[in-house]
């Protein structure tokens, strides 16, 4: 029973406000100068989060704001408001997105309070979370997983490798309804995107 009493004494660990993370976060120009970005994430003066791999080569010309990187939710599905089941599929990651994605279940973030859950099979999934660059053998697997999901369904592209290929390859050939950039995206950024995708608060 020790763990029980310890847990009670420790209190609630879930956070309403998350602490700031510098890298990765939204970048802004803080100095003048030319920057050679390895992934061409700087077009004219605009910083494109969908291409940025947060390699810090552009520091100190661009500096982090500490605000979590915004995701683009192109389509949200109100029927998932109370219950949102995710099926992660790794088509060619470095392992970082896998880990950050699993961390949204940590007590500090607690995805289940938003009605977000993980499932072991695409048959029961509402959304397919695609991570990593496209690798030849996983193309078919991705296609099968997508086909196995029942309607309505969402496709979530997690991490810059899935969005634009990052620095290591080509992105998977699938249209994403929710695009979460970052390398890897922080659990906070993932959680915000998911909550918006299921049209919560």
């Amino acid at each position: 029973m020790n763990w029980f009493l310890r847990g009670i004494r420790r209190g609630i660990l879930t956070e309403k406000e998350f602490p700031q993370v510098q890298w990765p976060s939204e970048l802004h120009r803080s100095k003048e100068g030319e920057v050679k970005c390895p992934t061409d994430a700087l077009k004219e003066d605009r910083w494109d989060p969908n291409r940025c791999i947060f390699c810090r080569a552009c520091e100190p010309i661009l500096s982090p704001t500490g605000r979590s990187v915004q995701a683009q939710v192109k389509r949200s599905e109100p029927s998932f408001r109370r219950s949102f089941y995710l099926y992660p599929i790794d088509v060619g990651t470095c392992g970082g997105c896998n880990l950050e994605f699993r961390l949204i279940a940590s007590p500090q973030h607690d995805m289940t309070r938003f009605g977000i859950f993980l499932t072991n099979t695409p048959r029961h999934a509402d959304a397919l979370v695609v991570m990593g660059v496209m690798t030849p053998k996983m193309e078919e697997v991705l296609r099968r997983a997508y086909d196995a999901m029942p309607e309505p369904k969402l496709v979530i592209l997690l991490g810059v490798c899935a969005v634009s290929g990052g620095i290591l390859g080509m992105p998977p050939d699938i249209r994403g309804d929710v695009v979460i950039p970052g390398c890897p995206p922080t659990p906070e950024s993932i959680l915000r995107a998911l909550v918006e995708a299921k049209s919560g608060e």
Binding site: W3, P19, W23, F54, L103, S106, N120
Partner: protein
């Protein structure tokens, strides 16, 4: 003298390079009899963190033989690229081991260029490696607890993993050390220690049922094992003591070993190593520092102790760019050990044994040219 693994065309041993390839004894298991069939686990399954397929020869519930089939092979082109770009790619071969990969790569480059990094950089590197080790050991134990549906420890460990990630982010900027190490530069500002109560973890994990699932599971006794798997089998193998450049000896580092070589011993070794890492970190000071890198040519090897074992890079540098790069990831050897330790067990032992090795497919299946 111990064999570490194949590094390019050579065999890396604890005393340097030898003629490759390394000689491992590979057992062969014959065809199955009546009633046997091949059971496929993966590539896309809920219980696996990454995409890999296992072809298991079984009579039903029993495991006679396992083969690993690769599905997410990434081809990374580094030949001829400038060092900075190669560094970005190296960081992203396996992000949970990013510090180990980066530091091994940079050590190899510095060896090739004949440079010794200054003390602050070495201290900063030790801090990064140990923080990464703490986080990954916590993650391995969390995956084991999650496989057992042992929920309170699962969430406590996940809490700690997140705490360590935040501590890393406060220390070095990025939660996974990306962009914290550059050629001739170390950008970590200061050291924030995560608060981890190892006693609490020991207490949480001492559950008879949980331990029973790990004991006797996946016994590894090969003398070419590396990392926690080797130390759990009683071998005192650790790159932190063998590679003098990392200067671990100054921090009073002691090797943790167990004797049984099963999944339980591997978990115990990792648990103890968390404590050892925390103790090392207490005596380390981190400051940002820059230093000059000459433009020379050369070939060098860099080896570090990643959370799952020896990780080595061999580079050939020419005019500020890479001519040749070879990688020895610990997961490649750990996968061999895993496949050899799996027969004679049953299906339910599978996830525990797999997680206990701390294997990352992303670094094992990457092909570099």
């Amino acid at each position: 003298m111990r064999i570490i693994g194949d590094l390019g065309p050579h065999c890396l041993t604890s005393e340097g390079l030898a003629e490759g390839p390394c000689k491992y004894s590979r057992p062969t298991i014959g065809e199955g009899g009546y009633g046997s069939f091949n059971f496929l686990y993966g590539p896309s399954a809920g219980g696996l963190l990454e995409s890999v397929a296992f072809d298991i020869l079984t009579y039903g519930e029993s495991i006679e033989d396992v083969r690993a089939l690769s599905y997410k092979t990434r081809h990374i082109k580094v030949g001829g690229l400038p060092l900075r770009d190669v560094l970005f790619k190296v960081e992203r071969i396996n992000v949970p081991f990013a510090a180990s990969h980066t530091i091994a790569f940079l050590t190899a480059v510095e060896n090739a260029l004949g440079v010794s990094p200054p003390e602050e950089v070495v201290e900063s590197r030790i801090a990064q490696l140990e923080l990464e080790r703490i986080r990954n050991n916590l993650l391995v134990i969390q995956r084991l607890a999650e496989a057992a549906s042992f929920l309170v420890p699962t969430y406590r460990l996940l809490y700690y993993v997140e705490e360590v990630n935040r501590a890393i982010s406060r220390s070095c900027g990025h939660r996974y050390f990306l962009g914290a190490n550059y050629l001739g530069e170390s950008r970590c500002q200061e050291l924030h220690l995560p608060r981890i109560d190892v006693e609490e973890l020991r207490d949480l994990l001492s559950n008879r049922i949980f331990i029973d699932r790990l004991q006797g599971n996946g016994v590894v006794k090969e003398d070419w094992a590396i990392g926690p798997a080797a130390r759990a089998a009683g071998f005192s193998y650790d790159a932190r003591l063998e590679v003098p450049e990392l200067k671990y000896r100054d921090h009073g580092f002691k090797i943790v070993t167990e004797s049984k070589g099963d999944a339980f011993s591997r978990m115990l070794v990792r648990l103890e190593e968390i404590e050892v890492s925390l103790k090392i970190l207490e005596g380390v000071e981190v400051k940002p520092r820059r230093f000059e890198l000459p433009s020379r040519e050369g070939r060098g090897i860099g080896r570090v102790e990643s959370p799952s074992g020896d990780l080595a890079y061999m580079v050939q540098v020419e005019q500020g760019s890479i001519k040749e790069l070879h990688l020895l990831p610990p997961s490649r050897i750990n996968i061999l050990l895993f496949l050899r330790s799996m027969p004679e067990n049953i299906f339910t032992d599978f996830p525990f044994n797999w997680e206990s090795f701390g294997i990352w497919i992303s670094e094992a299946e990457v092909s570099i040219s």
